[in-house]
Amino acid sequence: MTADPDGGIFEMEVEIKNSDGLHMRPAMQFVDMASTFNCGIEVSNGQTCVDAKSIMQMSMLAATRGTRLKITARGDDAEDAVRALKELVEDKMFDET
């Protein structure tokens, strides 16, 4: 994880843990959570970089189980946002197995 002390940028890597991957419903939860924050949030799988607040873009990531994603947030609540999303993906696993 990296934090930029000047510009409010916060970044973390997460791994998709639930067995069905980032299909529609988890993508929706991800987008809903991201949308509660003010900062701009991007997600990258190494090849594409998408807007975390767009369900269309997030579901295009189609990240299967085991995929590692990088979440980058820019703004005041950047750190809160990234931590909350990491918790959703890795700890809560979108309330799935």
């Binding site: 807007d51 369900i55 189609a62």
Partner: protein, 579 residues
Amino acid sequence: MEIKKGIAVSPGIAIAEALIVDSEDYRIPQRSIQPSERADEIHRVRKAFREASGELEHYDRLQRGIWGRKIRDIFAVHNRFLRDRSLRKQITDMIRLDMVTAEYAVSATFRKIARHFSQINDQYISERAADIYDIERRLLRRLLGGRKENIENLAREVAIVARELSPTQTAGFNKRFIKGIATDAGGRTSHTAIVARSLGIPAVVALEDLTESISGGDTVVIDGNRGIAIVNPDDEIIQQYEDYARDFVQFEHSLDAIRQKPAVTRDDAKITLLGNIEFPDEAEMVLEKGGDGIGLYRTEFLYLNRPDEPSEQDHYQAYAKTTSILNQRPVIIRTVDLGADKYTQSKRFAPEPNPFLGLRSIRFCLQNLTMFKRQLRAILRASVLGDVMVMFPLITNMQELKQAKMILRDVMEDLDEESIPYNKNIKVGIMVETPSAALTAYSLARDVDFFSLGTNDLIQYTLAVDRGNEQVSTLYSAADPAVLRLIRTVIQDAHKAQIDISVCGEMASEPEFIMLLLGMGIRTVSLTPPLIPEVKQIIRSVSIADCNKLARKVLTMNSERQISNYLRDCAIRVLPEAF
């Protein structure tokens, strides 16, 4: 431009605007707009999104207690899509830059997304493409104002593109406007193939993912000779195809000249050429193309594309019209052969797990006597108007045949009581299309006036292959030694019992098989009208002596590949232009 390869099932070339037909018949009215109309179209898109989203929220409230969690989640995701700004922006950008209608932009964008999903190597995720199509449909419904653009209201020439087409959908096709058909699914003898050939329009099936690569309004080339579909062809390709189409039409015209000539072989054996039809109007085409009568009148279409069952009068009118067009030439009417389709499945309490082997066709009729008798009455009444014969499909054993004949006798007695005239000596025949019927043909032959070999189903049942399944459709082949052996048995049994025998399956229209059928003893074939001239040409170019030699040789071969290559080579020598 995209080039897709499929299976050619009906000859000819079409270059037309694509009309995408899905199971809900949504049609993209047009593609291009004027620059000044862009603001309007963008407004329509935003409104459609808003309304569609509102619709989903409404359902959610309404069904709150009723829908399970899974369904609510699905619609919740759909709603997120409808509120996604970047998605809307992609669509409005397309309108602004490409100057296309709202419907086109929505459709093209969604299809691109759906295609992206279906290419992912994860089954669960790739199945989400269906959700994308669902959202697309919801939006199109909003944009088209709930108007279901009907295929029956066409005013422009189009090429129909669909995942697959059901009999109901094709029943309304008008060849004046429909210039060609292309489907993702289907095989050589699928319903689409049959209808396209009857209408005389080009068709390509088993294209697998054409519907994902095309939007309503796109130009498409359908090459029904080589089995290719080209989406948004460039100018050079269009020019090439226009030239090719012209040459092909000339070839067809040269075949038309043969119409008046008799169907006799070089050594003077007369072959009877009949036509397969589904609607009375097609009877005219049979005569136009030089046919001697109707060898197979498929009556299922009287039941499709309507909310209720046809009445006896509906049946009678169709049969009377056909018979009068044929004017004393033979008309073989096949009793209804429905099954494994929407019509009969909807009449069940529980859907059949295996409809193809289930209560269909004659079995269905024998358990729905009111419906069956209604049709038989109409056929009998029409039998005074011409040379009408009745044929039962899918007979698998003697018992079924006897039952069917008994019902026919019952109906005759009813008509006698009511003093309604009919032909008391009407000829009764059966389709031989199951292995059991083929293997007991010697016994069935004693109880009927004629056989008609339904090679399509016979091949399917014998080789255990679904003709509509594009994953195995290459296994389906009339050149399989097992199939040929059965066919030979049936022909021999028919000759021994001295009854007429004809072939009415697709095999009868394929150039490679004509010589073989003649060589095995067939003297009557029934096929789709547009192909009658070509088959007549082949008949006039061969001698029975050669055909017999060919058949003897083929019957010593034991590999489908060997047989089909040999037959193809022989046919090319006889009629090179057909290939």
